[in-house]
């Protein structure tokens, strides 16, 4: 079974530029999550989708971050404009459905903002 796919793996941009990350979850997984992991910290949830609807985006900085999940499959997370403090690893995860189901993570995208 293929795992969660993410691209790109690495991205370096200057502050105030925009960037987009892509995620393709495990086939059949209805729930998709985007996490931000700053060096030395655990992942922090940014947004959660159930199929193509948003379940929780309370920790998403909506003035600069946006995300969509068209057709309930793959998803895109965008940052515009980027700030230095956005330097982090952006992880995508998926699970079968809501509930105490284990979440499976992709390899992440390491973003460096200079």
């Amino acid at each position: 079974e293929a795992g969660v796919a993410q691209s790109p793996r690495y991205k370096i941009i200057e502050k105030r530029q925009s960037v987009a990350f892509w995620c393709n979850p495990i086939s059949g997984h209805a729930t998709l999550y985007w996490y931000q992991q700053i060096l030395g910290q655990g992942p922090k949830l940014l947004i959660q989708f159930q199929n193509n609807g948003v379940v929780d985006d309370s920790q998403l900085p909506k003035d600069r971050f946006s995300a969509e999940r068209l057709k309930g499959v793959d998803s895109t997370l965008k940052i515009q404009p980027a700030k230095l403090e956005d330097s982090a690893v952006y992880l995508c995860a998926s699970s079968l459905a809501d509930g105490a189901y284990e979440q499976y993570f992709g390899p992440g995208t390491r973003l460096t903002v200079t």
């Binding site: 030395g40 959660q48 379940v55 929780d56 509930g99 105490a100 284990e102 993570f105």
Partner: protein, 111 residues
Amino acid sequence: EDQVTQSPEALRLQEGESSSLNCSYTVSGLRGLFWYRQDPGKGPEFLFTLYSAGEEKEKERLKATLTKKESFLHITAPKPEDSATYLCAVQDRAGSYQLTFGKGTKLSVIP
């Protein structure tokens, strides 16, 4: 607000030297407690889910246990390939199904 505290921050063991990692948590109502392993440059890899106090789960040299306030990840006779950061996360019964993670314990097993 849910909180997860992991200790120690880092642990250095000789190969074969058993030890335990601690995860203390505060939630209004626990739906599940999750353990993940994270290798450098990779995403977290799922290990265990525990649902209620007294529950235990095992996988190879790892055993996870749960009480009402904390969870332990016991590592028996570790090998160098067990070196990684181990993350603990809780899922609250209230609200969405997000995971709240601790900062992790970085385990190094020396041959």
